[in-house]
């Protein structure tokens, strides 16, 4: 048994969990082509959830701030991107791949820019007065979420909005009897690129060093002469921008969005942050991939269990590791 544990640790430890889940699913699903489709869908979904969850995890880790309003950035990101895509509808249908890419780039950039500005506003006006007071954080951020949802209703109306996709992301790649949607590959790649970027910033730069140290022990970083509160606003803005980017990607994935989108995703985002371990980007990625795969496999095998499966996953992981799979060291 001990030897087995050693071998598992050597080959990646908890990082192997998604592989194990995929292997079990392969046996249960039986048909390899369905399994590949579901796995790709799960990975793509996981990466989009990672975008939404990474900021929340860092914000909590660095300042102990519980932001239930985080999903408002997801919703706004989705609607801002959808609106930009609608305005640029002419470019989307064009044969020119350049116009396609440009429209997509502008839509995602608009969502990210919105996230940065709204994040700054949210941190300064709503979060700052309630540092160190968890009860008030929960109350005021929940309130802000309700206000945000109503603002979306007022601005975009209550009817679901359809999201046009650029031509080059439509359709699927067929490999033998396996079909893989292009959009899913795009979502996965973008998520992976963001993860690598975050990883490099956190592990190769001085700001990243300060963030990692601050997540562990804020007081000590301040005692060394650094203002964590000033760093925090930057992290909060970045986290909000990533959430908005995740929302934008999600809008293109669903192609029909309603104002309640953020609230619905919030439960999954919280599950991911909790099972990954608060304050850790690696943990958040692992949690997001697990939840994405699990949701797709279970949705195929036992559709009625789809919602419950993630809750069960969270309970099982918390019973095994109460502070999550890869928590930041505190």
């Amino acid at each position: 048994m001990n030897n087995l544990t050693k071998i598992i640790t050597r080959f990646g430890g908890v990082n192997l969990l998604p592989v194990a889940v995929a292997a079990v699913a392969f046996v249960l699903i039986g048909a390899p082509s369905s399994w590949v489709t579901l796995t790709v869908a799960g990975l793509a979904m996981g990466m989009m959830i990672f975008l939404m969850a990474s900021g929340l995890s860092l914000v909590f880790g660095l300042m102990d701030v519980m932001n239930f309003g985080h999903s408002a950035f997801v919703s706004f990101g989705a609607f801002v991107a959808a609106s930009v895509l609608s305005w640029l509808g002419g470019w989307l249908g064009a044969d020119s791949i350049l116009l396609n890419v440009l429209a997509l780039f502008l839509a995602i950039s608009a969502a990210v820019l919105f996230g940065l500005i709204a994040g700054w506003f949210f941190e300064t006006v709503i979060i700052r007065p309630v540092y160190k007071d968890h009860l008030r954080q929960i109350l005021i951020t929940m309130g802000a979420l309700i206000v945000a949802e109503q603002m979306i209703l007022a601005l975009w109306g209550g009817t679901p909005m359809s999201v046009p996709r650029p031509q080059f992301l439509e359709g699927a790649i067929i490999l033998g009897d396996v079909s893989i949607e292009v959009y899913r590959i795009f979502a996965f790649s973008l998520g992976l690129a963001v993860y690598i970027g975050l990883y490099l910033v956190l592990n190769r730069t001085r700001i990243g060093l300060l963030i990692r140290a601050g997540v562990e022990n804020r007081e000590m970083v301040e005692s060394l002469g650094f203002r964590i509160d000033r760093l925090f606003i930057g992290v909060f803005m970045l986290g909000s921008a990533l959430a908005a980017m995740g929302g934008a990607m999600w809008a293109g994935y669903e192609t029909l969005i309603s104002p309640s989108l953020g609230g619905e995703l919030m439960i999954i985002v919280f599950i991911v942050v909790i099972i990954g371990g608060l304050g850790s980007i690696e943990g958040t990625l692992l949690g997001a991939i697990l939840v994405g795969l699990m949701g797709n496999y279970v949705g195929f095998l036992a559709p009625k269990m789809a919602l419950a499966s993630n809750m069960i996953l969270m309970m099982a992981i918390l019973l095994w590791r109460p502070s999550g799979l890869r928590p930041a060291i505190k």
């Binding site: 140290a213 562990e216 022990n217 000590m220 301040e222 005692s223 060394l224 002469g225 964590i228």
Partner: protein, 234 residues
């Protein structure tokens, strides 16, 4: 003029008044030892100087400047380092990262780095190891190294010998004696032998007040006073 001068400092934590009246003059140079029973307010005094608890206004002056109410980071930048009782090591960071974080510009000054590695050779050996894997003594060395990697005027150290083996305590005492040649140390300590060996000036805190202040040489000779102020039975 004293390096650090505290006048009638009061600190409340939540609804509890922990420090009632701390008045203390810490002269420049050497080791100043703060003694006292458990719960007397020694740690709270250090944390209040550092701005981690907010003391009453107008009570702490550093080189004549009022630092009460300043942000902890700004107090640190004036040249005060803090080594807390739990050492405050960043376990997920390597030894090197712990130290480089403490430099003001993100780069080591070769002279200071050489001094640190001469004082604590063990750190060099574990340079790229994550700090959580160090032993208690090595963590304490890292915590002290972090405090002196930049030039400082005053280092606040909270019970550095707690839980350490006697041989490591000896090495620590030598290191402190060396550091104290150039930097003032305000040391909180329960281990009286260690404190006696290093301290030049000293004070005793009792129940949130300064109960005695004088030189370590006089205090070490006065057994009845030690018993009255430090023994648990008193």
């Amino acid at each position: 003029m004293s390096l650090l001068s505290i006048t009638a400092m009061k600190t409340n934590i939540g609804q509890y008044a922990v420090l009632h009246d701390i008045t203390l003059e810490v002269p420049e140079g050497g080791v100043f030892v703060l003694l006292g029973r458990n719960g007397a307010g020694k740690t709270t005094t250090l944390r209040s100087i550092m701005g981690l608890w907010k003391p009453s206004p107008g009570s702490v002056r550093f080189r004549g400047q009022d630092i009460t109410g300043l942000h902890t980071a700004d107090i640190a930048r004036l040249g005060i380092a803090f080594v807390p009782e739990n050492m405050g090591i960043f376990g997920g960071l390597t030894v090197e990262e712990n130290l480089v974080l403490a430099t003001a510009k993100g780069k080591f000054d070769p002279v200071r780095l050489a001094r640190v590695t001469t004082l604590f050779p063990a750190l060099e050996q574990f340079w790229t190891k994550q700090a959580w894997s160090l032993s208690g003594g090595q963590k304490q060395m890292l915590a002290v190294a972090r405090a002196i990697i930049e030039p400082r005027d005053l280092i606040l150290i909270d019970e550095p010998t707690k839980g350490l083996a006697p041989s490591i305590i000896d090495a620590m005492a030598d290191a402190f004696a060396d550091i104290a040649k150039t930097t003032t140390i305000l040391l909180v300590e329960q281990n009286f032998e260690f404190a006696k060996r290093l301290g030049r000036d000293m004070a005793v805190i009792d129940n949130g007040r300064i109960a005695h202040q004088g030189t370590m040489a006089d205090f070490a000779k006065d057994k009845p006073l030690q018993d009255r102020l430090l023994s648990l039975s008193a």
